[in-house]
């Protein structure tokens, strides 16, 4: 898994976001086994404590489930995934909108640009 940690924000929050994204996009699908804490930590270049904290938080949110024997699995349900996906999409849209506003692009133009971009991608 690709990690992108920037130093300006709490690292555990960034880990939570990126793990959440992996779950929503299906990079870590429901039922999949989550790699051991130490492995994930080494991969992301963070300490096992920080990774543990992030995984614990995802467990509390019900996205991961600790197995009695060993390790964790992805336990997010369809409904939960949909909610998360919507939240992500809304946040992205808001961010995009703000940046377009800052550029002075109108609502109509923004919509047109989005449609054009989508068409270009779909060709």
């Amino acid at each position: 898994m690709e990690w992108n940690i920037t130093p300006g924000r709490p690292v555990y929050l960034q880990l939570i976001e990126q793990l959440e994204l992996a779950i929503v996009t299906g990079a870590m699908p429901a039922g999949a086994r989550v790699p051991p804490v130490r492995e994930l930590a080494a991969e992301a270049g963070v300490t096992p404590n920080t990774m543990q904290r992030a995984l614990q938080e995802l467990e509390n949110r019900g996205l991961l489930k600790a197995q009695r024997t060993a390790g964790r699995t992805v336990s997010a349900g369809t409904e939960q995934l949909d909610t998360l996906r919507r939240q992500r999409a809304e946040a992205l849209a808001q961010e995009f909108w703000k940046q377009m506003q800052a550029l002075g692009v109108s609502t109509e133009e923004t919509a047109a640009l989005l449609r054009a971009a989508a068409e270009k991608e779909n060709v």
């Binding site: 130093p7 690292v11 929050l13 130490r38 080494a42 963070v46 300490t47 920080t50």
Partner: protein
């Protein structure tokens, strides 16, 4: 959880000059701790006191409850800030010397790390560049299964590509029962992998905090925070 390391009222004077003043803190097992501070703030003195190379003027250091001595040296892997190995010896001599000297030294691990960093086993220490020497010393220090690692400026002379390998090596090679204290000026390079930070200023402990907590409170990265506090 029982602290692996304690500093209690720790003071050190060099003649009339005060190097460390009344330092009190604890480190728990499993923690990776950054030791930061400007030049002359007492970082090396603190590590030398912890390694048993200096004797406190007052107060004490306790490692697993013992003051530095034979018992603590068997569980402490110390990387000094300067070369402490004889220049006429070669890399593989050092590996076998460490193997004989430290019961917790893993010879196979050391050889693998040295090979990864492309160090020639037959090279003489005296003929090495500063960076190569540092790489070798760090390989030796991290190949022990110690409870406490004290690393004094392990990265200063190391090139950026090898730096990443070394940081990863540190991350992978300490276990949950061990703690790592790493002093460095390369805050940006290490801050991702730190749990806590000790910041020294003129021989005093200015701050001991979780790095993520510090980021949350200050809204800054550790590097920015450090530059802000010590702006000249």
């Amino acid at each position: 959880m029982q602290a692996i390391y304690q500093a209690k009222g720790l003071c050190k004077n060099y003649g009339r000059r005060t190097a460390l003043e009344n330092m009190n803190f604890e480190i728990l097992p499993g923690r990776l701790v950054g030791l930061l501070g400007p030049n002359g703030s007492g970082k090396t003195t603190l590590l030398k006191l912890s390694a048993g190379l200096l004797v406190p003027s007052a107060g004490c250091v306790l490692i697993e409850g013992n003051t530095p001595g034979v018992a603590t040296k068997t569980v402490t892997s110390y990387l000094p800030d300067r070369l402490a190995l004889p220049g006429e010896m070669r890399v593989d001599d050092m590996v076998s010397l460490y193997g004989e000297f430290f019961a917790d030294f893993d010879t196979a691990k050391a050889s693998a790390m040295l090979a990864d960093l492309k160090l020639d086993p037959r090279q003489r220490i005296g003929a090495m560049s500063k960076g190569t020497r540092e790489k070798m010393q760090l390989c030796l220090a991290m190949s022990r299964a110690a409870r406490l690692y004290l690393l004094d400026e392990p990265l200063g002379g190391v090139d950026p590509a090898a730096r990443e390998y070394i940081l990863n090596t540190i991350l992978r090679n300490y276990n949950e029962n061990a703690a790592v204290v790493i002093s460095t000026h390369l805050v940006e390079d290490v801050e991702r992998m730190l749990d806590e930070v000790l910041i020294l200023k003129e021989g005093r402990l200015l701050l001991h905090r979780g790095v993520d907590e510090l980021r949350e409170e200050s809204g800054m990265s550790l590097d920015e925070y450090f530059r802000d506090v010590f702006r000249c």
